[in-house]
């Protein structure tokens, strides 16, 4: 037995990794509150939280930095959980919220609001959410045959996404003068996200993550293959259906708030798998913390590297995520 293997087998080591990811998350949250167009000294952050001394930065901290950080944390966690569930359900390493049509649904719905009704910006999130859910369920319906067949879902998802993608492109052609205002949504960004967005996404995060935790043992059974899972008494079709629904709600709420943010749902689960293995009892919490931490950190980076210009977090995720993904591929870790 290799030493690496022995190390992996030790429960304590995996627990430590989860704690490590949690610490990483807290650190990135602190950095996210600390840095931006205005840098806030740590002492002022502490003062604001403890409520002792009045700080000049109190307003910025409470109304801008803290809610934005929360949105990043929740979106990161939601997308990571959605990705880790979908990869397990579809038995496909490329499955992520894009595959089930969530992103293209939110994309087209969001573009319709932004381009055709730019005077109604508050409609963006609810409409995008509805679009994401409708499209996801259309994909299921098309792929349904005595239960959800993974290959059919992936193919139906790709086809529907291409179809809706052409709708998005058509809107951009007809209203080329209004495209400017949609960029942040199309690549996924967190600028100007505040408490209202936290309120929208929080209930879905809580419910979705609790349901995902309840499904942990079932997801582990599914990993053994459909036949074996069935032989062990699992209701395979029901697990697929219910866990896909959970993933949809998590992804749809995230995407409707930040726009078409890619890669989080893909790289975070893979990275977590690489480090902690496939056991969902460890993989799920690891993905939650890692997803939240990575998104929060990326957003912070996007705010400071080219300040005062703010780079949308989606751009950072793509720029860092894609090379990292290729690195995993070359090392044959996927």
């Amino acid at each position: 037995m290799s030493k690496k293997q022995a190390l992996r087998d030790r429960r304590g080591w995996k627990g430590f990794i989860i704690v490590f990811f949690a610490i990483l998350l807290i650190l990135s949250m602190l950095l996210s509150i600390r840095f931006g167009s205005v840098n806030i000294p740590l002492s002022d952050i502490l003062a604001t939280f403890t409520g002792g001394i009045q700080s000049d930065f109190q307003n910025i901290i409470w109304n801008i930095r803290v809610p934005r950080t929360f949105v990043a944390v929740l979106v990161g966690a939601n997308l990571a959980v959605a990705g880790v569930l979908l990869q397990g359900i579809m038995k496909n390493p490329l499955a992520d919220p894009y595959i089930i049509g969530v992103s293209s649904g939110a994309g087209l719905a969001g573009m319709i609001v932004l381009i055709l009704y730019p005077h109604l910006p508050h409609l963006l999130t609810p409409v995008a959410f509805i679009g994401a859910t409708i499209v996801a369920f259309t994909v299921y319906a098309l792929a349904w045959e005595k239960g959800i067949a993974p290959t059919r879902i992936i193919l139906a998802g790709v086809a529907i996404s291409a179809f809706l993608g052409s709708g998005i492109s058509a809107l951009m052609v007809f209203y080329s003068d209004r495209v400017q205002g949609t960029i942040d949504f199309m690549v996924g960004g967190l600028s100007a996200r505040s408490w209202p967005q936290v309120e929208i996404i929080l209930p879905y995060s809580i419910i979705g993550i609790i349901l995902a935790i309840i499904g942990i043992r079932k997801m582990n059974l599914l990993m053994l293959g459909d036949r074996t899972a069935k032989s062990l008494g699992a209701r395979v079709e029901w697990i697929r259906f219910s866990m896909t629904a959970v993933a949809t709600l998590l992804a749809a709420s995230a995407v409707s708030v930040v726009g078409l943010l890619g890669f989080v749902g893909l790289i975070v689960p893979h990275t977590a798998r690489l480090i902690v293995g496939n056991d969902y009892r460890v993989l799920l919490p690891a993905s939650i913390f890692l997803g939240a931490a990575i998104l929060t950190a990326s957003d912070t980076v996007g705010r400071i590297v080219f300040a005062p210009i703010e780079i949308p977090v989606g751009v950072i995720m793509g720029a860092l995520g894609a090379p990292f993904f290729l690195y995993l591929l070359r090392r044959k870790m996927i």
Partner: protein
């Protein structure tokens, strides 16, 4: 005692009828082999009997209760299936085998000492003691198959279904698997139902053979009752010599194709010569 009974079960997939009104009775504590040519429906029959795929028509009874009306968990406490194809797993042997206890546990229950004993026994029966901490994906094909068998044994099934358990293994590992299975009757009093490709294996390791041809039961009986030249010709389209080995009383079958390829060869030679 009859443990499993199928009454007139049919199975169709998009217009193609794979099983045609099959009646079948399986008795407790016996080893059954299902044999038949490719596409005859033997795996489909195994799946219908093991509650994997509900037949389109007809019923399967588990001790006089309708198998498909029992809860999946209840059934999983009684029946186990070794699937035909098992993906490599990033788990240790011990972890994989411990999943066999799932049907006996509620959602929040943890494994206790009694479960650990059962897991140890399953690992012991499959001779995996030395490998229990090893990762399943690093094992050889035969060892891996034994690990999956141990998973099924930890389930403590009354009936153990095996879908072509020897297909991808080399010969020594094939025999390991069959020896383990044939001992189960003595050690755990399990009824075994397996789909086998090798007819000599079926002859030496089964109490009864179920012959399937084009979705129907061609015959069922002990190897000596059912394995004869007529059956091999009609079902498998081969000529056969069958004799009883006087050392162990087991049938040995030697097979030859029905088509005489030597004739064809000369036919081609003549053609070549004429061209």
């Amino acid at each position: 005692m009859t443990v499993l009974q199928a009454t007139s079960i049919s199975q169709s997939y998009s217009n193609k009828q794979v099983l045609k009104k099959i009646d079948l009775k399986l008795n407790e504590g016996r080893i059954y082999s299902i044999i038949g040519p490719n596409g005859s429906g033997k795996s489909t029959l195994l799946h219908a009997l093991s509650r994997q795929v509900k037949p389109t028509k007809g019923d399967v009874y588990w001790k006089e209760k309708n198998l498909y009306q029992l809860s999946p968990k209840k059934v999983a406490q009684e029946l186990a299936l070794l699937a035909q194809v098992n993906d490599p797993m990033d788990l240790t042997v011990e972890q994989l085998v411990s999943y066999g206890r799932t049907p006996h546990k509620s959602l929040l229950q943890r494994l206790d000492e009694k479960d650990q004993e059962i897991i140890d026994e399953a690992i012991d029966l499959t001779k995996l003691n030395a490998l229990r901490k090893r990762n399943v994906s690093n094992l050889s094909g035969g060892e891996r198959q034994r690990a999956w068998i141990a998973l099924c044994l930890a389930q403590q099934p009354k009936v153990f279904f095996l879908d072509e358990p020897t297909t991808y293994l080399d010969i020594s590992h094939q025999l390991d698997v069959l020896e383990i299975v044939s001992r189960l009757k003595k050690t755990m009093d399990v009824t075994v139902v397996m789909v086998l490709h090798d007819l000599n294996h079926a002859a030496s390791y089964s109490d009864e053979v179920i012959v399937v041809k084009e979705g129907r039961i061609y015959g069922q009986g002990t190897p000596k009752e059912i394995m004869n030249q007529k059956m091999f010709k009609e079902v498998f389209h081969v000529q056969s010599d069958i004799y009883e080995d006087e050392r162990d009383g087991i049938l040995r079958i030697v097979m030859k194709p029905l088509i005489n390829f030597n004739d064809n060869q000369s036919f081609f030679k003549e053609r070549r010569a004429s061209v």
